[in-house]
């Protein structure tokens, strides 16, 4: 072993090159739109808007005007005000429901992937049952018994999201739990809680958060679909879905009543998806490989 005598010093002083990361114009537009939607939803009460529920039967389906920027709907209610207040419902449900799924599903998935055994079989089995249950039927059943409210709607959509989050968390945990750095932590005498929180969670959180943003987009759509079907928030509270549903009745005379909320929803969902994809690419330490 002549090579053993070599004493080359490794060059540790050279600074590793960080790849330059550029954010596209599309990403900036998506962030801008999301911030606008968030801002108007939060500040809706302070904005100089007419009430979204006051009807004016003399001004049914009024066109764009200085008084009503986006005109009025079939009951003479201000379209812009309904759009802004509708954003509140979409965002509250769209963000809170995935948080429920992320927390419960993520925790279950990590525990199942780390401890394996009977617990994993039980968790995966019960999630399969939940997945097999038709979501619309569950939504119908719950709203029929507990009544229509934003809270109930959020809970239903949150519970329906648990299995998907569980799967993402479990898959990520499974691939990580046999890696040497976890064995190293065990060898150091770390407790299970410490391994789960300090070693595994930081690695599992990223795929979960990337997935979270996609689920936000899907939940906004599902909330709209339920509201469109009359299963969402009760009238007269505006929501994008119910606005599209109400606009459907006058598609022939005033198609904008359905299209304006549809466009708002389309842009919001697209923004969440774009930001989600970019965030994942940005925060992956070794791009494409983990």
């Amino acid at each position: 072993m002549a090579t053993l005598e070599l004493g080359l010093e490794e060059d540790v002083s050279a600074a590793p090159v960080r790849p330059a990361r550029r954010l596209g114009a599309l990403f900036r537009l998506a962030i801008g739109w999301m911030m606008l939607v968030f801002a108007v939803a939060i500040l809706a009460d302070m904005l100089p808007l007419p009430s979204p529920t006051d009807m004016d039967m003399l001004e049914k389906r009024a066109p764009f005007s200085f008084e009503h920027w986006l005109g009025t709907d079939g009951f003479g209610r201000d379209e812009l005000a309904r759009l802004v207040y509708g954003a509140r419902v979409s965002l509250v449900v769209g963000l809170c429901a995935p948080v429920i799924g992320l927390t419960i599903g993520g925790a279950l998935g990590m525990l199942a992937g780390y401890f394996r055994g009977r617990f994993e079989t039980f968790v995966v089995g019960s999630m399969d049952v939940l997945l097999a249950f038709p979501p619309l039927v569950l939504a119908l059943a719950v709203t029929a018994y507990l009544g229509q409210s934003i809270f109930n709607l959020t809970c239903i959509l949150g519970v329906l999201g648990i299995p998907a989050f569980m799967r993402v968390a479990r898959a990520a945990t499974l691939s990580l739990a046999r890696r040497e750095f976890v064995i190293a932590a065990q060898a150091l005498g770390a407790t299970h809680a410490r391994i789960l929180l300090r070693e595994l969670l930081p690695n599992v959180l990223l795929p979960l958060l990337a997935y979270f943003l996609l689920v936000v987009a899907v939940t906004i759509v599902v909330e709209s679909a339920l509201s469109f079907l009359g299963l969402g928030v009760p009238p007269p509270v505006p929501s994008w879905g119910s606005m599209i549903g109400e606009g459907r009745e006058s598609l022939d005379v005033a198609p904008r009543l359905a299209f304006i909320p549809a466009i708002a929803m389309f842009l919001t969902v697209l923004s969440f998806n774009l930001v989600g994809d970019t965030m994942r690419a940005l925060t992956d330490p070794r791009q494409g490989a983990l």
Binding site: M1, T3, L4, E5, L6, G7, L8, E9, E10, V12, S13, A15, P16, R179, E180, F181, I183, A184, A185, Q186, A187, L188, G189, A190, R194, R198, E199, P202, N203, L206, P285, R286, L290
Partner: protein
């Protein structure tokens, strides 16, 4: 059977058996292995892939439960320890892995990774922790100011292995198990890491169990060498003696298989044929008999015990070469 290396060995493994279930079948990973490691000694453990050498290393640390047998570390039996007592004992034994990049959490900073053993073992003062981290990083040849804020993927394999060594040494352990520490590294980096291990051994007064499949590497670093085949020990002896006069036919075949850097020399004709048998159904008697040129009926019936063939050299063979 006595493999007494010293009157007061640091580690003493007695009749250790490790088995695990794969698809309803039992894998006999380690079968009745007894070995001792003296304080300050480097014991090389060699064998083919899948012969149980890594399992033996992990069973010493109780990362794999032993079916039977004892692991006496400094007189304390680790197999009967649990919870806090075991955790306290583990701090004196550290592990270095084959894949240096996979053994570092990709999302934690080097400073946190190296400080982790201190946090777990209850060093509360952050100033003291950072002092110890700085010291150990300098000791392994890294500039603490440059590395502590970085993530593992910003380093090469050799640098990651230095970080792993720093993490293993930060608690000032007595015993370090090196599980193929250089097999994932470039040949040019191997020598540096081996030299570093030697240096650290002297500086921290370590005892090493050096697991490898590369005989040349083991020969270079070990005081004594143990050869394993299919979960059993074949031969144990002082490094020089074992390489000069192997007693077990398997050791002889391994040594013959070391490539000679000379194109005119023909490879040895005695290379063992075929794959090693499966550890799910090991052969009766001597486990090497299916590939051994000297095997006879006795080898199929009787399990050979480790017997002294020369001073300090032991072989488990009915027909030893010396």
């Amino acid at each position: 059977m006595m493999l007494q290396a010293a009157p007061d060995p640091l580690l003493r493994v007695e009749n250790l058996v490790v088995e695990y279930a794969v698809g309803g079948k039992t894998v006999h990973a380690v079968s009745d292995v007894s070995i001792e490691i003296a304080r300050g000694e480097t014991l090389g453990l060699v064998g083919e892939s899948g012969c149980g050498k890594s399992t033996l290393g992990r069973a010493v640390l109780q990362l794999r439960p032993a079916v039977s047998g004892k692991v006496l570390f400094d007189g304390h039996d680790l197999t009967t320890m649990q919870g806090e007592a075991l955790r306290r004992m583990r701090r004196r034994v550290q592990l270095i892995f084959q894949d240096p990049i996979a053994s570092l959490n990709p999302r934690r900073r080097i400073g946190d990774i190296v400080a982790e053993p201190l946090v777990i073992s209850g060093v509360k003062d952050p100033g003291r922790r950072s002092q110890l981290v700085h010291d150990v990083l300098s000791a392994v040849g890294l500039d603490p100011a440059l590395v502590i804020g970085r993530l593992p993927h910003e380093f090469s394999g050799g640098q990651c292995q230095r970080i792993c060594i720093a993490r293993a040494l930060v608690l000032n352990p007595d015993f370090v198990i090196c599980d193929e520490p250089v097999s994932a590294l470039d040949v040019s980096i191997r020598a540096q890491i081996l030299n570093l291990l030697e240096e650290m051994k002297a500086r921290y007064g370590l005892t090493l169990l050096f697991i490898a499949h590369d005989l040349a590497v083991v020969k270079a670093v070990s005081d004594r060498v143990a050869v394993m085949y299919l979960g059993r020990l074949c031969e144990v002896g002082p490094s020089e003696q074992l390489f000069a006069r192997p007693a077990h036919p398997y050791t002889a075949l391994l040594i013959d298989a070391i490539p000679v850097p000379d194109p005119d020399i023909r490879p040895a004709e005695t290379v063992p044929v075929g794959e090693p048998p499966s550890p799910i159904a090991p052969p009766s008697g001597c486990r090497f008999r299916t590939r051994c040129p000297r095997a006879d009926a006795r080898c199929a019936n009787e399990v050979p015990e480790l017997r002294a063939v020369a001073p300090g050299q032991f072989a488990a063979c009915h027909h030893p070469l010396v």
